[in-house]
């Protein structure tokens, strides 16, 4: 019921009801029901073309679902309702090739704000890029670019992380890095939705799983 204004604390952070998406009348996925609470990690699994990225874009509010409802903290989700609480990491990393990692991150902070006790240089060191702070992003490898984008997660305050294929282009230490970031985020009461087309090993307890397109 969208009109419900019950202030109970049990409201999930993000809730989807009968979410369906069509592209030119071809069903992409759905109907999909799921719930995400603070401190929870959910994996979205599916093959190529199963609509993982589309689902992510709907959850960011960039795309509108054809049918079904999305609720953010119990209220219908719109792009301005959840803004500032969601960080999205997509296929396109949103980095400017002509700027350095430091400049890119400073711009992100300028828009989204600054997480307490975080520092750009420390974040870059955390993702293993110390020494590359002032190198233009275009000179970095694909994996290093991904790490710059991951550093953004450390710097920007957000309750929900939407990570679309965060493991792509990363080596083993990079995958460990993503898992470590996710564990710390969950431990601090954050929530995350992660898509992946492969099996993911996750140490911090068994995550919820949503399968698209069986």
């Amino acid at each position: 019921m969208p009109g419900m204004t019950d202030a109970s604390p049990a409201k999930p952070l993000l809730q989807a009801r009968a979410l369906t998406f069509h592209r030119q009348d071809e069903p992409v996925f759905g109907p999909l029901d799921f719930c995400l609470d603070a401190g929870e990690l959910t994996l979205i699994e599916g093959d190529n073309g199963s609509g993982k990225t589309t689902l992510m874009r709907i959850l960011t509010g960039l795309l509108r679902p054809e049918e079904g409802e999305l609720y953010w903290r119990g209220e219908p989700l719109t792009w301005d309702r959840c803004s500032g609480e969601v960080v999205f990491l997509g296929h396109q990393l949103g980095l400017k090739a002509d700027l350095t990692p430091h400049e890119n991150l400073r711009f992100a902070i300028g828009l989204h704000g600054h997480r307490e006790h975080s520092h750009i240089d420390e974040a870059l060191a955390h993702v293993g890029l110390s020494g590359y702070e002032n190198e233009p992003v275009r000179k970095l490898s694909a994996g290093q670019k991904k790490r710059v984008a991951l550093a953004r997660l450390l710097l920007i305050p957000a309750a929900l992380w939407l990570l679309d294929e965060p493991y792509a282009n990363l080596d083993r230490t990079g995958i460990e890095l993503v898992n470590g970031l996710l564990e710390a985020h969950i431990a601090h009461g954050g929530a995350a939705l992660v898509t992946s087309h492969g099996a993911v090993q996750f140490h911090g307890g068994e995550p919820h799983r949503i399968r698209l397109h069986d």
Partner: protein, 252 residues
């Protein structure tokens, strides 16, 4: 959906209902367009007396004026449909707006060509930077922009909504262009020949003109319904009601 929209209108915006409705009305619209067009042309080209100044040259107004009128009328229809499409996201409104654009562009083009032909006889030049002609030309560019934008998208609904936004920008722009071109004309003191004299036309000239206006309007309805039906079929090709029609066609 807004509550104040009458129920029948809401029902009509459902694709299968409109498909049937348009299919029933279309033959009548075609017939009326043809009959009225024939009567209007006969009245205008044969019955109406020659003008005491322009002789028989003026007879082009029986095509020129209705087309000029339609070029603006269709833009208005397109603008209203575009507004509905953007605010209420009704698929039918998107289709109507996009189906109107080529028809409107055609009428605008005919207006320009007939105006140019008439200008050659009247003023001895094919083109003059008269305020009305210039506005009409800008209108043609607006139509072409809408059509071009619509077709540059892979997703047709996305293209329709984007082009609808452009159509709305155009609605604001048309009066501005007309005003500025008028201002420009007074500045340059160019050919300020009025296309239509003061409206002291004989009734023998007026009734064919009005008949032609009605004929073009029915032609628009017929053409719009035809295009809309085709677009509905292709956009809804996965739906059950389209499948039923296809099966009926095969059986029949």
């Amino acid at each position: 959906m807004a509550k104040w929209i009458p129920l029948w209108l809401h029902k009509l915006s459902s694709p299968p209902v409109f498909y049937g409705f348009a299919g029933k009305l279309r033959p009548w619209a075609i017939a009326l367009a043809l009959i009225l067009g024939a009567i209007g042309l006969y009245g205008g080209l044969v019955l109406a007396p020659p003008d005491y100044q322009q002789g028989d040259d003026y007879r082009i107004i029986f095509i020129h004026v209705p087309c000029a009128w339609m070029s603006l009328f269709i833009y208005a229809v397109m603008g209203v449909a575009a507004f509905i499409a953007l605010v209420w996201r009704i698929k039918l409104a998107e289709i109507v707006a996009m189906a109107s654009a080529p028809i409107g562009a055609a009428f605008t083009f005919i207006t320009l060509v007939t105006g140019s032909l008439w200008g050659e006889r009247m003023w001895g030049t094919w083109w003059t930077w008269d305020a009305r002609l210039t506005s009409e030309l800008v209108l043609l560019f607006l139509y072409l922009g809408v059509i071009g934008l619509y077709h540059s998208f892979e997703d047709r609904r996305q293209g329709a909504r984007t082009a609808a936004f452009l159509a709305l920008i155009g609605i604001i722009n048309v009066p501005i262009v007309h005003f500025s071109v008028n201002w420009w004309n007074t500045l340059h003191q160019g050919s300020t020949i009025r296309l239509l004299g003061p409206s002291t036309m004989a009734s023998s000239m007026i009734w064919p003109l009005l008949t032609m206006m009605a004929a073009t309007k029915f032609y628009y309805i017929a053409s719009l319904f035809g295009r809309t039906r085709a677009d509905l079929l292709s956009l809804e090709s996965g739906k059950d009601w389209v499948r039923e029609i296809a099966e009926k066609e095969v059986r029949g």
